[in-house]
């Protein structure tokens, strides 16, 4: 699903964010990226989503070589990815329903289809009753769950989450993680950046640790030991 080969990422100004990264994440896997702030976790996700372009090496996502995805094809490429953020980035000028519907509206689904899928997604995260609320009126955990619903409503093959539990207490964080696991069980490949080592160890999934832009350890990883 995701393959990094000797990937370097240098930001303008000479700061090396990632150095010689080699990773392979299989389709249907669930993996964590961890490390201190500034270790390159976010950069890794941003490269996969083509928010940033890597400076050297090769990245292949879902069979597509990212170097070959031209600027005008980036939008279509991203439709196959779901995103989640620490600050959830919900739009407070519209309802929960409209927030979750955004990826479907972008893809041009008709009204019935949108309604059906949004309600299914909200049901899945247990917030169907809040579909008419404005996000700002929800609790932090609920907002994050709306974020998840929005990230999966268009049935992406890949889900990227950047510190999805960063602002939540341990109990709520665990709840969110279990939701991710459920989506993973139906086949969504999931990559989560998190510094909450305690919790992600409990999940018993693969953990990629970054330090100063390099990969350190690959727990339960046997694919890129070359």
């Amino acid at each position: 699903m995701i393959r990094f080969a000797n990937v370097h990422m240098q930001y303008p100004g000479g700061i090396d964010a990632l150095r010689n990264i080699n990773i392979h994440i299989e389709q249907g896997a669930m993996a964590f990226v961890t490390g201190r702030s500034g270790a390159g976790k976010s950069t890794l996700l941003r490269l996969i989503a083509l928010i940033e372009r890597h400076t050297r090496g090769q990245i292949i996502v879902n069979g597509q070589n990212l170097e070959r995805v031209r600027r005008n094809r980036v939008a279509l490429f991203r439709r196959n990815i779901g995103f989640m953020f620490q600050d959830h980035r919900l739009l407070n000028d519209r309802t929960v329903f409209d927030n979750v519907a955004l990826p479907l509206v972008i893809a041009g689904h008709d009204h019935q289809e949108v309604k059906k899928r949004v309600q299914a997604a909200l049901d899945k995260v247990g917030l169907l009753s809040k579909q008419k609320s404005i996000p700002v009126t929800l609790s932090g955990g609920e907002q994050q769950r709306v974020g998840i619903a929005r990230a999966v409503v268009h049935r992406p093959a890949l889900l990227l989450a950047d510190e999805p539990t960063g602002n939540l207490d341990p109990a709520l964080s665990w709840e969110i993680m279990c939701l991710f696991e459920q989506f993973n069980q139906v086949g969504v490949t999931i990559l989560i950046a998190s510094h909450d080592l305690e919790m992600i160890k409990r999940m018993r999934k693969r953990i990629i640790t970054l330090r100063e832009g390099r990969t350190l350890t690959h727990i339960s990883d046997h694919h890129d030991k070359k």
Binding site: Q27, A49, I51, N62, Q64, N72, A75, L76, F77, R78, R79, N80, I81, F83, R89, L91, D93, L102, P103, V105, I106, A107, G108, D110, A120, A121, K124, R150, V152, H154, R155, P156, A157, F183, V186, G187, V188
Partner: protein, 324 residues
């Protein structure tokens, strides 16, 4: 909630032309309604913006109407533009009459009045009071003359000039003339006013572009986070710019309608004084307003300026916003 591994294909190649067209239409419809909703959500601010656009459009339109009315009035004076053709002294009354009827049958001449030598002398005698002096002459010194009214519907200097040249070429005519100076001056003034109205229209059109461009720029920055999120979820540039372009469209159309309303109202207020003035001059002058075609063009120019203004703004500001 099962993922589809071939989604890229689903979104890209495999969709039929028809369903792509349907999506395209659907998204346009959504953008039209969404942008109208945005305007309605902020009715006072939207109305103020549309009013500024409306006034900017109404000003040159108003001057244009004044110009049209002036032209209409001078067209009424056209009858007073007469060419006086002096015949040669050796042309007798019969020949003069023949020439008069021949000229009257020409398509570019409306009417020919003949003043024979005797009539001219008589007139001169009465008007000048030089009766005795004239009697001292043994021969009538005055030529016959033809008073010719040009036929052309609308006054134009060119057609009058042409007619004059033609008359000069007639062998019986010694000299033909009309008050060229007066017509030339009037035309020059109309020309200047026309140029001023045109410049005003261009300047105010630019003002409308700037107003709409700036309004759209504010809208874009207001909805920055939304644009970022939409781009993350695979929105194309077209998808993102559409509502802004339609906002420009709505501002333009409402501005055009407000301009039309202002003009119509002003004309209603001017109708009465204009009528009483016309009565004082015993003229059948009627104030010309906007025809349906003019009103349509006015609103259309609003729409075009709205679309162009928002397009420029979108090109300049939307690309700069990328997800972070």
């Amino acid at each position: 909630m099962k993922p589809q591994q071939t989604q890229t294909a689903e979104y890209g190649r495999k969709k039929s032309f028809r369903s792509l067209l349907e999506i395209w239409l659907l998204q346009h419809l959504q953008a039209i309604i969404f942008s109208l909703g945005q305007l309605c959500r902020n009715p006072i601010a939207s109305f103020l913006t549309a009013s500024v656009i409306g006034i900017s459009l109404a000003l040159p339109t108003g001057f244009f109407i004044i110009l049209e009315n002036t032209r209409h009035i001078t067209a009424g004076w056209e009858g007073s533009v007469e060419i006086t053709a002096f015949l040669k002294m050796d042309v007798d009354d019969n020949a003069a009459r023949k020439l008069a009827s021949k000229l009257a049958s020409q398509s570019d001449i409306a009417k020919v009045d003949l003043v024979t030598r005797e009539q001219a002398l008589e007139e001169y005698r009465q008007l000048s009071g030089f009766t005795n002096a004239l009697e001292a002459l043994d021969e009538n010194p005055l030529p016959s003359l033809l008073l010719i009214k040009p036929a052309h519907g609308e006054f134009s200097e060119k057609s009058a000039e042409e007619l004059l040249n033609k008359l000069q070429a007639v062998p019986e005519i010694e000299n033909a003339q009309y008050d060229q100076q007066w017509v030339k001056r009037l035309n020059a003034i109309i020309g200047i006013v026309q140029r001023i109205v045109l410049m005003l229209a261009v300047f105010l059109g630019m003002a409308v572009l700037i107003i709409i461009g700036n309004t759209i720029r504010m809208l874009i920055y207001h909805r920055r986070s939304e644009i970022e999120v939409a781009k993350l979820f695979g929105a194309t540039d077209g998808f993102i710019q559409r509502p802004f372009l339609y906002s420009g469209f709505w501002y333009g159309i409402f501005g055009g309608i407000i301009a039309w309303a202002l003009i119509t109202l002003s004309l209603l207020l001017l109708q009465e004084p204009a009528d009483s003035l016309a009565q004082l001059y015993t003229s059948n002058f009627k104030l010309i307003g906007l025809t349906i075609k003019d009103a349509f063009l006015l609103i259309l120019s609003g729409v075009l300026l709205g679309l162009i203004g928002s397009w420029i703004s979108v090109q300049r500001h939307l690309r700069a916003i990328e997800p972070v």
